[in-house]
């Protein structure tokens, strides 16, 4: 099978899924619509992290900064200008990208764990900034004009579109020459540079692209939450959830974060919402077990379990660690 064929299949499946999502949205109960919106927002944030960490090998703990940027951009734009909510989503993505480009100057100097901690520090600085930004409501944040933001069906459809964009970008990274170079960078940066991959350009593009997606997800969050505050949209939990969801499902794959989002949010957060202490315990234990026994995530476990059912000629599980 060739990459192009795979890419076409994935693209088609994605398109079908998006169209189905848009079509069935109005028929769903409000509760299901809301759950769908939440899942799709998490999927977008997890997938954006996956592009950065799973495909390009840059583990970030800074997603919260861009969720917040997106949410505040959308909120402020609607509160202070007359632009529509759709334009505000685009603006949210653009501003998140701009902030990412500015942060890239110091951040992309960093490698490995330093990069991770750098993104964490940046995201906490953003939260502190928002807490003090009185024009944007300071610590109590701002409430969006309820009449001008989408809800219910429209909101779900927006979430579908944004998540489809995230899936689409991931599919592009998964199947394109660009993504191939990213994989080379992740696996061995000096070797990739030796083979003609422009290291900085690729890291920059990935970082900005991932942040744009996260920013757009932030706008959807703002519409769903109605009120945005630093303790919510800028909470470090966004960053941690993205890591958890992508890793549990399987980072570096297209489908992994979809599985991970479903398992973590639907299977853990919702199911264990009456037992908060237990859910902490389960999430923590799950993470340790995943890195210890299934570093390629649940998707790889499923693939491995399904392998005897298929012909022997197909791929061995991707991403198994060399010793």
């Amino acid at each position: 099978m060739t990459g192009r064929k795979d890419a076409t299949t994935a693209g088609a499946a994605l398109l079908v899924a998006a169209v189905v999502g848009l079509a069935v949205a109005p028929g769903l109960e409000p509760g299901v619509q809301d759950l769908g919106t939440t899942l799709l927002v998490y999927l977008t944030v997890a997938q954006a992290w996956n592009i950065l960490a799973g495909f390009a090998g840059q583990v970030s703990l800074g997603a919260a900064a861009f969720v917040a940027t997106g949410a505040y951009t959308a909120g402020l734009a609607l509160a202070h200008t007359s632009i529509g909510w759709a334009a505000a989503v685009a603006l949210a993505g653009a501003i998140a990208g701009l902030i990412a480009a500015m942060l890239a100057v110091p951040l992309l100097r960093l490698r490995g764990d330093y990069f991770t901690i750098g993104t964490l520090a940046a995201s906490i600085a953003v939260q502190a900034l928002l807490t003090n930004w009185n024009w944007a409501g300071g610590a109590s944040g701002l409430t969006l004009p309820i009449d001008r933001i989408p809800a219910g069906t429209t909101l779900l459809r927006l979430a579908v579109v944004v998540a489809a964009a995230a899936m689409g970008l991931t599919a592009y990274v998964r199947y394109s020459a660009f993504g191939l170079r990213l994989g080379a960078l992740r696996d061995n940066e000096p070797a990739a540079a030796g083979l003609g991959v422009a290291v900085y350009g690729h890291r920059f593009a990935t970082w900005v692209g991932s942040s744009v997606l996260t920013g757009m997800a932030g706008a959807v969050v703002a519409y769903q939450y109605v009120a945005v505050s630093p303790s919510g949209v800028a909470s470090v939990n966004w960053s941690l959830d993205a890591v958890l969801m992508a890793l549990v499902g399987g980072a570096g794959s297209l489908i992994g974060p979809v599985l991970g989002t479903t398992i973590v949010y639907y299977g853990l957060t919702r199911m264990l919402e009456d037992f908060q202490v237990l859910s902490l315990l389960v999430e923590g234990t799950l993470l340790v077990l995943i890195v210890r026994f299934a570093p390629a995530g649940v998707l790889a476990l499923l693939t491995r379990a399904a392998r005897p059912l298929r012909r022997a000629a197909t791929l061995p599980a991707a991403g198994t660690e060399p010793a």
Partner: protein, 393 residues
């Protein structure tokens, strides 16, 4: 190849499909229990199990009487309470699932900053929310689905200045607040009232939640000779500040700890906390309805008046809501909402009558004793004499 299509399709269907199953059965039959939802901090930095007990008390009372009368039929009440660990994201998601999936007839509020984020959700979901634990001035004007019955900052501040006037201090104030909305409005209010009461704010500063070093503010207050401390901050922070004031030998003559001195953890400060004033919406000497019952039912579990006031608050809110559902004769959000607006009753925090979604309940000023109890010092009815601020002397 085929595997990939299947996997993609599978993943998409799980997302859509699982959500569909998750919400199968909650269609609303008229004999089903009435669901009331609340998302609150039951773990994490703050623990509101006192308020939860108050909610539960009111609901148990109603269920013990066979349920509440909704349009002529007796229906049991189910109180669904979720713990959000103080995380705003979790709270929003929980409130939405309570309203949309559990079909809660109405919501009960939680506390503090969370109430503000929750108000926006109530308006957005068009689901009535009865809340307290946030001074009524601080609630933003919304779309009419939020009902706040709690003490007013202004009343409390007025009470404080009446007490302060009798304390024999030099009228200079150190005002320190959190930098969130509650802190800022508190600061503005106290600055305004101070002038009228003949006080001057000598030092005014703010600090983010989580601050542990207050030496800058304390140093300025010492330099300015401020003898009155007004501190408004979330709980663990002010413990550090009180210890630091003591250690840095700053000896004000009068101090009030808004928000923070309202938690029972204050008692862990021991002697240092003695004499500090605290603003309350309930105290056992208040003469409020049900006050004796609160004490007799819960003082074994919660010996402290602060905790008991939270129990009373929970009971108060839940009572308002249950009465409104009966009055509406329906669990329809609009009807319940309209009925809350016409509430006319008196419960654990006093008389309720909403105007603009708000109904002020009485305020009290108490004073911490070294043994961890609180004595009412204002208003006069039920009050004891003001003692000195022994903890910081």
């Amino acid at each position: 190849m085929i595997r990939r299509i299947v996997a993609t399709a599978l993943a998409v269907t799980t997302t859509v499909g699982l959500t569909a199953c998750g919400s199968n059965s909650s269609s609303e039959g008229s004999t089903d229990a009435v669901v009331i939802g609340a998302s609150m901090m039951l773990s994490g930095q703050t623990n509101l199990e006192t308020i939860r007990d108050g909610y539960q008390w009111a609901v148990d009372e109603a269920n013990a009487a066979g349920g509440i009368d909704v349009g002529g039929a007796k229906r049991k009440v189910t109180l669904k309470i979720l713990d959000n660990r103080g995380d705003t994201n979790t709270m929003v998601q929980q409130v939405r699932s309570l309203a949309l999936q559990d079909k809660a007839a109405a919501l009960l509020g939680s506390c503090c900053q969370q109430n503000i984020d929750m108000s926006a959700q109530a308006d957005s979901l068009k689901t009535p929310l009865v809340m307290g634990a946030l001074p009524i001035e601080l609630r933003p004007d919304g779309k009419g689905y939020v009902w706040d019955s709690f003490q007013s900052l202004v009343d409390g501040a007025g009470g404080f200045f009446q007490v302060a006037a009798t304390a024999g201090t030099n009228k200079k104030i150190l005002l320190i607040t959190n930098n969130d909305s509650q802190g800022k409005s508190t600061a503005d209010l106290y600055k305004g009232l101070a002038g009228k009461a003949g006080f001057t704010v000598a030092v005014s500063t703010d600090a983010p939640a989580g601050t542990t070093d207050y030496s800058d503010a304390i140093g300025k207050a010492k330099a300015a000779g401020a003898e009155v401390v007004i501190a408004s901050m979330t709980p663990p922070d002010c413990f550090a500040m009180w210890k630091q004031m003591k250690a840095l030998a700053y000896t004000p003559k009068l101090a009030i700890g808004l928000q923070c001195a309202q938690t029972p953890g204050w008692a862990s400060l021991g002697a240092v906390g003695a004499g500090t004033l605290v603003q309350m919406s309930w105290i056992r000497t208040s003469g409020l309805p049900k006050a004796d019952e609160v004490v007799s039912k819960y003082s074994a579990k919660y010996p402290n008046d602060n905790d008991l006031s939270s129990v009373a608050l929970g009971y108060h809110e839940a009572t308002i809501l249950l009465a409104a559902i009966t009055k509406a004769g329906s669990t329809d959000h609009e009807k319940v909402n309209a009925a809350i607006g016409q509430t006319d009753l008196s419960s654990a925090l006093g008389k309720v009558s909403f105007a603009g979604g708000k109904s002020a309940t009485p305020s009290f000023v108490g004073q911490w004793n070294a043994d961890g109890t609180i004595t009412q010092v204002w208003p006069k009815q039920g009050a004891s004499a003001l003692k000195s601020l022994s903890g910081l002397a």
